[in-house]
């Protein structure tokens, strides 16, 4: 099974590549070769039981990363929400035209007689609106209230059309906000959801731009990697033209998160400072706080673990590396 990860140098890309290297398998088959592609050169995987090819390139021209015979493409490359809001042209180029370029590369493969690869596309909760009171059903309309969400929703439509035409075989996962991100704060408007847990676990203060009762739809990186792997091997025959899946995340409030933090490290929540930020609140405030993900459950996407397990997994998987990266003792 030949696999490609676009956006392989990012947080989820590295987690996914590490999972594949560890198991050597995807959807019941051996991974025969893995291509890692990103704007920054992805790190190789010296312990992988299969050959790994690392490519640096622009998502506007991903053809080199999709050789004939590619079975699965994970398209994770993206410009995140606050950055896409700040730099409209960059967001369009990566989030929209990047997806079109992936469809085009698949079309060229298909027209040359190669098989249509499974494309697993990471869309987002930000493609929806509805805000704090929302509890969205599987057929909820995508009415994005930010450029990132608009670009992701448009990309979903165009990739779904390419899938219908047989150029590729799509599964779009509208990912919840992924917490706890390791490393440093990034330019996602949702960055604080990770920061209010990660920074105190490092012994550092963190700013909270919204109130304690603010609710969000979240998922752990472990669970997201599970979903990506499941989507790669999903039988898509029953999906019809609807290739979008709202996976079963967790609806949690900030207060829940701070409780879980104190459960893992008593007193750590005291490092979180209230620092209202209307710009951040305006973006994340439109995102729906809960879904009813019946379709995803029917399709076998695994249910989410409790919040305490999510915090424990960060401590087990990522805290030491984050400490080292940040130079925190």
């Amino acid at each position: 099974m030949k696999v490609t990860i676009l956006g392989a140098a990012g947080f989820l890309g590295r987690k996914l590549a590490a999972r594949l290297a560890q198991s050597g398998r995807l959807g019941g088959n051996d991974v025969a070769a893995l291509t890692l592609f990103d704007a920054a050169m992805p790190a190789s995987l010296p312990d992988a039981p299969f050959p790994v090819r690392c490519l640096q390139g622009d998502i506007g021209d991903p053809a080199a990363a999709l050789p004939p015979g590619t079975d699965v493409v994970f398209h994770l490359a993206a410009v995140v929400s606050a950055q896409a809001e700040a730099d409209y042209a960059l967001g369009l180029r990566v989030n929209l035209h990047g997806a079109l370029a992936v469809a085009e590369a698949c079309r060229h493969l298909a027209e040359a007689g190669a098989k249509a690869p499974r494309v697993v596309f990471t869309s987002s909760v930000a493609t929806f609106s509805g805000g704090q009171d929302a509890q969205l059903a599987d057929d909820a309309r995508q009415l994005p209230a930010n450029s990132y969400g608009a670009q992701k929703a448009a990309a979903e439509l165009l990739l779904a059309d390419a899938s219908r035409r047989g150029f590729l075989d799509l599964v779009s996962l509208r990912l919840p906000t992924v917490i706890i991100r390791p490393g440093r704060p990034n330019r996602a408007a949702s960055s604080f959801f990770s920061a209010i847990l990660r920074e105190p676990l490092l012994g550092l203060p963190a700013d909270l731009p919204v109130g304690d009762d603010f609710a969000a739809w979240v998922a752990s990186p472990r669970r997201v990697v599970d979903w990506l792997v499941h989507a790669a091997a999903l039988n898509t025959e029953g999906l019809g033209i609807d290739r979008g899946v709202n996976p079963p995340g967790l609806s949690v409030t900030v207060a829940h998160m701070l409780q879980a933090l104190d459960g893992a490290r008593p007193g750590a929540a005291a490092l979180v400072r209230h620092a209202p930020d209307p710009d951040v609140a305006a973006i994340v405030g439109t995102w729906p706080a809960a879904f009813e993900p019946f379709r995803a459950r029917t399709l076998g996407f695994s249910a989410h673990e409790p919040l305490a397990d999510l915090v424990a997994a960060f401590i087990a998987d990522d805290l030491d590396a984050t400490r080292a990266e940040r130079g925190v003792s």
Copy 2:
């Protein structure tokens, strides 16, 4: 008031330009100048009470048609459904990238300090699916089953985002199938809806690719021009980020249409031959046959006239010109 029509040489573009020339007004203001833009040089309007500028150009570069001070842009340029299905790249180029180019031209105007023009975008019933049994509410999800619909739905999202950012002020009208088109059959999958009325009125036979009980969501060109003019002057403050409107068309069956035809010209329906076409049926069969357009009514979009009036209006407005164009005596 400075007005631009993109796609001005098409059927609706010509009707709209003629309406503006006739009234000299738009939204309670005098039209000060009109720019007509299309891939084929649009015909001028010698009797218009305002200056008319005709431009031939590609929709990928519409900037010349949007001078600073433009108040209203009607973006009607499109590659129709069956053609977009047959030529994927052309459909993407015109229907998606054309809309992006319009947004980009408006962004340049806005960034140079000019006002954000009202953009009236013609989207389509083809952005929805659901088929014969559908009765779609205003918050129905757009799940297109053809490339034309996917491109239009993606364009709606990206134009709505440009509107939210203040580059333009959008109203997207998801037009029903417009009947009765004058002239010759075109490459829309829905072309037969016009042909089964127009051809018999010319004394010519017409093929019917679907059954008599097939239902469709239709509108007359007169009514569509009314809606376009209404959208140009609509107060958009109450719309929020949702700039899509499903206007109040008519849900009719083929049998209703043939009755109306016989009502206008007794015996004419006998010229319609059953000629099942699975390719055409596959496209139009996914389009919803009815809507519940409450939002459009609340916003003041005028209700549709009865089918008999639609047929009579074609006879009054277009039959002679079509006869002349087609060389039918």
